[in-house]
Symmetry: C2
Subunit: 388 residues, 2 copies
Amino acid sequence: MKKVAIVGAGQSRYGEFPEKGIKELFLEAYRDMLDSVDKGVDPSRIGAAYIGNLGSGGFQLGNMSALVSEFVGLPYVHTLRVENACASGGYAIVNAAMDVMSGAHDVVIAGGVEKMTDVSGVKQKYWLGVSGDTEYERLAGTTFAGLYALIAHRHMHEFGTTREQLSSVAVKNHANGALNPKAQFQREITLDKAMKSPYVARPLNLFDCCSTTDGASAVLICDADIASEFTDTPVHIRGFGTSSDYLAIHDRVSTVTLEGTKRAARAAYEMAGVTPTDIHAAEVHDCFTIAELLAYEDLGFCEKGEGGKFIEEGRSKIGGDKPVNASGGLKSKGHPIGSTGTGQAYEIFNQLRETVQKPSRQVKGAETGLIHNVGGSGGTVSVSILGR
Amino acid sequence: MKKVAIVGAGQSRYGEFPEKGIKELFLEAYRDMLDSVDKGVDPSRIGAAYIGNLGSGGFQLGNMSALVSEFVGLPYVHTLRVENACASGGYAIVNAAMDVMSGAHDVVIAGGVEKMTDVSGVKQKYWLGVSGDTEYERLAGTTFAGLYALIAHRHMHEFGTTREQLSSVAVKNHANGALNPKAQFQREITLDKAMKSPYVARPLNLFDCCSTTDGASAVLICDADIASEFTDTPVHIRGFGTSSDYLAIHDRVSTVTLEGTKRAARAAYEMAGVTPTDIHAAEVHDCFTIAELLAYEDLGFCEKGEGGKFIEEGRSKIGGDKPVNASGGLKSKGHPIGSTGTGQAYEIFNQLRETVQKPSRQVKGAETGLIHNVGGSGGTVSVSILGR
């Protein structure tokens, strides 16, 4: 099996940009990616571009992979829009890796882009809602915050997870995001402020929920045998795993476990030949604070039900034994849907190369990292393990 | 490089089915696919499902790959929705093949599904229009029929292509579709009727345009080394090629050539080690009659500008030296967008195994076939070469 490496990574600023569409956002990430390639890369070497995106077709543009590819100067590549709701970017990485492993192309892009803030509220709500189950959940009036609220309530009931533990996730991720010049929200929040914010869907309040974000990101992936043409410090994709799951929560094996995360992680660890204890830095899918607690558990960082204790003990802080979402996560860095997975890879790429923008955000000595990207309320999940 | 085989193929009836959604349509194709596997397949062997679809997210369901996968009984596979407008199915095949070639999975599905007839006219029009260029074409009022009308006019001007030649494509494809029990329109039309139908976008009239269709299809793809577990008569994917192009027609190298088709075909022929003369049966993307003439030329079946003569001489009829769209094509079989590419593979799979439903539709002795799937007005194109 061919080995695969990441030799460049770029990200646009995440935030609200009324002046930019998906083309401009993706170009910003693409240029940043090209600039990150130590020895440079001739764009004519790029044979394929996998672009994660949810919104196009919904209210913007179809055939968008070809559109953004031509816009950055790659008019004739194998380009493909991949969509698995919020996990689109994570799957773009996995399928870009498969492309290189297959021998079809030796240098490819995995990227993602989303334009979320410049659409009407009605459209936005409708469009996000459709990524969960429609027949049993959406048409019954449930939103994503509502679904994760159900999960959070059950988690509190079964394991004694507290509101304070949930808010602690938000506090940690905002502290990290304050150190990230590309994050949407670059400010710390206090535990008091997080706990007293208004409910969105009880028990989840405003600071338990990630935002809507414009943004893009891209990573340059190649056959590891030629990585030295581009850099002396590549990051390798050591393993990946994916799993879908039943969309409707009532169909699943458990309300407090994302079975997709467990299965995807198991496959990724096995392919990489590592265990959860080997992970030095992780970017996980904290669309809601409860989702980060589930991730700790389902990725094997702690036992089921101990996610609350894990955050409480500060283990997932930068400086803890298992730093999670040093970038600020979806909560503070932002969650431009199609870009989220490749944006996670951008962060881990820089963590492993010790090239994050501010030394205080650097996870010291990180050699192995993990990215975890969830679609909908767990209907699709991808996990990739990156290593120096 | 691993060799890849198709060992099963299924298709739903194409048409207008108010009682069926994408889940039911896909299930029909999936079951038909399972039934086609000579020695049977245990669904637990299936590791991945690539699902071509345009409309979801637009007005139906997000995370739809997971939804249709769970519905057919595959809740935990690597499932991915791929969207390149009308070429989505063709790209599903190419990426499914790459998956197997990479060693990630050894048995996978490439499928597609679209529900087009049960939405309001406004939504449908908007949604289809977005797959071309938005800024320069759609917002200026152009529809797809309008874009292909521009191409047709220029083709007539440069090469003397006639209205009768355009209508001859429709007549041929309806004659073929009349022999296809799964086609949307199973009736012949006369040249007189085709030529006298009302204009949609001059010079294209009603019978120059394909319809909107509900339908699904799926093919079972595996590592060729294990194909004999499933059948003694597999069909091999001998080559594939893809290319994107500028979305806006004014940006392209020519108005009367789909550069994407030329590039995708060149790559596919090279990978398969064949030339256009080796193709015994082809399913090409005849979304409009002019598109089939372009395909003859850009796939190398004849010289540029001679597409009109090619149809006039009857060369692309069943029984001609280069039968094209024996299934009825998009024109008569129907064009359920995400399913079109995998539906073409379903037809060629059966042509090469001599298992088409009616002997009169069989291309005698076909050993090598080609499928050609176009997204938008040529923004994305995939070509695959299949062989016994």
